[in-house]
Symmetry: C2
Subunit: 500 residues, 2 copies
């Protein structure tokens, strides 16, 4: 094999795999957005065949020979291609340890589980979802045993979303958050609560949709390449490459704030994905490097920018234009206070910045226990409700508002939740760094996000998966990551809103 | 090879191809419904790779060997499997005559052409679309030359949608329609025109969407398996199998009738597709047997049922409920007369039953001439406008309302249009036959379409592609197809509306 030919083959192999991922991705996307409700089996049949084809191509003798040849010549390859070969070989070696039939059956299970989860959630019936969830946990555990028998199962799963992350690190991280945030939450609880009546009223879907596009454009998304759809649970996905990106939201006609911040959150993910350098398209380096860096971007736009006083002031006139009757008696300051209300609650995606990490911590504890064999799936609702009472002081009325609220488990995402909390904390440290060269507050005040986006593009987005999350953090921060910046940021916000 | 193994392999091969067709189908569907506007190239890249894979599987040595083995043993196969082998071998032998690179390039061209056509239509700029249309015509001609060098190019193309159809047959068919319908249209032109003001007004999209779902349910579509989306040009497609069907419509807020009859038309296609026997799913026998039989069903529901007096009376209360202010001064009879107004016009999809076939005839004449080398693509708008003046007496104001109005050519559908006129005529003959056992008028009056659907399912839908269109016509009619039933039907309608 000639090196030049092998390098070309490397690119065309990735292009082929990207086409298959495009097909699989759009089938999932269709299932979550547009597909009629009883078509999951039909879609599952096609998904399982296409997944089998991906598996076959990814692990074929030709592919392995190609990658091993390139790996032997890695010192002659450009940095990007070295990284491609490393990532692909790593995944293949993991994949090869999972029997093909089991891998394919799991893809089929995922499709059914997603469908059943949605029905179970609507019926608030955990028992309907339980057998699927048991299979999902069991399969992930079994796969972890195939791939990394030497590792703690949950550590292995955490690593899927964040290279090098361990329960040890997270226990420490969450320990800090708990010791610093719980007292803060208690103090807030003793203060008079803010008035959030501005968000409640009658906000027709059509008007909220206009707001979505306004927000997307304002934050600098290219609407020619980034689409918006409706789903039960908002998400962001690239289709084929970062050149076709989709975000989704869920409109509640009695509360415009919910979808508004979903759109900004998913829009942050979309900015990161679509910010990949164009020559990364159709390669394994396209898109974000880890889930926590991804969440650092989504939550940066949602919270640090979106829940700032300056942002609320900037968008308020547009809100007034869209919902004149409902908002005529309110001010931008009312919006700022309402969207920063801190109050223990039931739903993670609608939780405030302050209590958010506790929602994540509950999921972290539960996943850790199930994988350690210390908790059975059938006891999950009871444990969920117990932890919500213990950490957040709230009573969970039913499974819909409890253990069934998130789509993650039905999609096989175990070990993913901690990314949200890490992402928050990374974002606060990025902000400190960004302020050294960008006048962030003036940018927000003027609705001019180009300097902010340019900084993120330059430092984070363009690199796709070229660097590991740890390498990227090093490059961006130039100092060790420190979660205290996040604590400081939250403390300051509490001071501003509650005067404590 | 053992026969039993080969038969199993035949089923699993079709299942695999169905998964690929599902992927390709949903990528096209996404492009027409949801995708952001500048993502066609990204989608095209994936489509070309997936099409290449379909080509590879369909024409591989293993596939050909399998099918030829089964073909040798066809007398030992059940009828359905004989038909599968015949159809697949026929297509492969055609496909093998087209060089793979050209086939793949054509798939890519189709994606781009669809995108450019939409932009060109919106800009009413034929020149923007011309280079693509030239390539489309040229490629179809070249492919026809590869596949059937002995045949007239246009005859070959007609056969793609209707086995055995020739320009000779069509010249005769259109000749009859012309000689019978043109005088009728002239007579109608001399009568006082009906008042169609009921359809014009302000009909919000949201309300029209509710109407769509009402109509779909009324006609007996299973909304758990049949979805509705919006597109520039309405169409129907199966995804993976008839177990997931999608129809689309285009809402005009100043005229509810346009989308209303689009939905019934596409709903008719969807009834046919979803009526395939379930054991045909994921085989080449799934769905309709030819385009004209397909159109016979869509236009049966749209026109014969949907434009009947009884149907207008049945749905009028629902219309009044949805659009109380706009319709309060009208009656069901006003609706009936308005939707049956006969008047030469510009847009085929909105043409009335009487003049519709002339729109089709114009496209037939143009396609025939281009493929015969008697007309160049650059002269197409002028010829289009000339024929509209000659046959329909109308002046075409711009390309948007002229030569760019239909999506068919941008999708590579040449020789397809005649199906619409044939479908109309088949439907009228089916009606005569159906009346022998079903009291169609009472069914419509009561909004009870089960007996009508049962007759169609029994006689037409369940058979999928088991029979050729000619065989199916023979079975259903038990006598030679006769276009005079269609003439009679139209004559009676004119008498009722215009008193002639």
């Amino acid at each position: 094999m000639k090196l030049e030919d092998a390098r070309k083959e490397l690119i065309s192999l990735q292009r082929k795999l990207a086409a298959y991922e495009h097909a699989v991705g759009i089938l999932y996307y269709d299932g979550a957005t547009t597909a009629p409700k009883n078509t999951a089996d039909n879609r599952g049949a096609s998904l399982s065949i296409l997944s089998e084809e991906i598996y076959r191509y990814s692990t074929s003798d030709e592919t392995v020979a190609l990658l091993e040849f390139l790996d032997e010549h890695k010192n002659e390859l450009p940095l990007k291609e070295q990284r491609m070969v490393y990532l692909m070989l790593r995944d293949i070696r993991e994949m090869q340890k999972i029997p093909m039939a089991e891998y394919v059956a799991y893809q089929e299970l995922l499709v059914k589980a997603e469908d059943v989860w949605e029905k179970a959630k609507n019926a608030s019936d955990f028992e309907m979802f339980r057998p699927y969830l048991e299979q999902l946990f069991a399969t992930e555990k079994k796969f972890a045993g195939y791939v990394a028998p030497e590792k703690n199962v949950y550590d292995y799963l955490l690593n899927k979303y964040e290279e090098g992350l361990t329960t040890q690190t997270l226990d420490k991280f969450f320990g800090l958050l708990r010791s610093e945030l719980v007292p803060l939450i208690h103090k807030v609880g003793e203060m008079p609560q803010v008035d959030d009546s501005i968000r409640h009223g009658n906000f027709p879907k059509g008007q909220q949709e206009k707001l979505s596009y306004y927000l997307m454009e304002l934050m600098g998304l290219d609407l020619g390449r980034v689409g918006l759809s409706e789903t039960e649970h908002p998400f962001t996905t690239s289709l084929g490459s970062h050149l076709d990106e989709r975000i989704t939201t869920h409109y509640h006609e009695d509360d415009f704030v919910s979808s508004m911040y979903s759109v900004i959150h998913e829009g942050g993910h979309a900015l990161y994905d679509t910010g990949s350098a164009d020559d990364l398209a159709y390669t394994v380096l396209d898109g974000g490097t880890s889930m926590s860096i991804h969440e650092s971007q989504s939550r940066f736009y949602e919270n640090i920018i979106g829940r700032s006083r300056a942002y609320c002031a900037y968008v308020f006139p547009k809100l007034l234009e869209l919902f004149p009757e409902e908002l005529q008696d309110y001010t931008a300051e009312d919006l700022y206070r309402a969207v920063n209300m801190a109050q223990p609650s039931l739903i993670r995606t609608e939780a405030d910045e302050l209590t958010y990490s506790l929602h994540v911590m509950i999921r972290y504890e539960i996943e850790k226990k199930v994988f350690a064999g210390e908790l059975e799936v059938k006891d999950l609702p009871a444990e969920w409700n117990r932890l919500y009472k213990e950490y957040l002081g709230v009573d969970v009325p039913d499974d819909k508002h409890g253990v069934l609220q998130d789509s993650h488990w039905s999609g096989g995402l175990f070990g993913y939740f901690p990314s949200y909390a890490l992402g928050n904390a990374y974002g606060a440290h990025f902000l400190k760094k960004m302020r050294e060269t960008v006048d962030v507050d003036t940018c927000i005040r003027n609705g001019n996000f180009a300097p902010v986006n340019d900084w993120n593009r330059e430092n984070i987005w363009q690199h796709g998966c070229i660097y590991t999350p740890a390498e990227l953090l090093d490059r961006v921060l130039g100092e060790p990551f420190d979660a205290h910046h996040y604590i400081d940021y939250l403390t300051e916000k509490c001071k501003d809103i509650y005067g404590i």
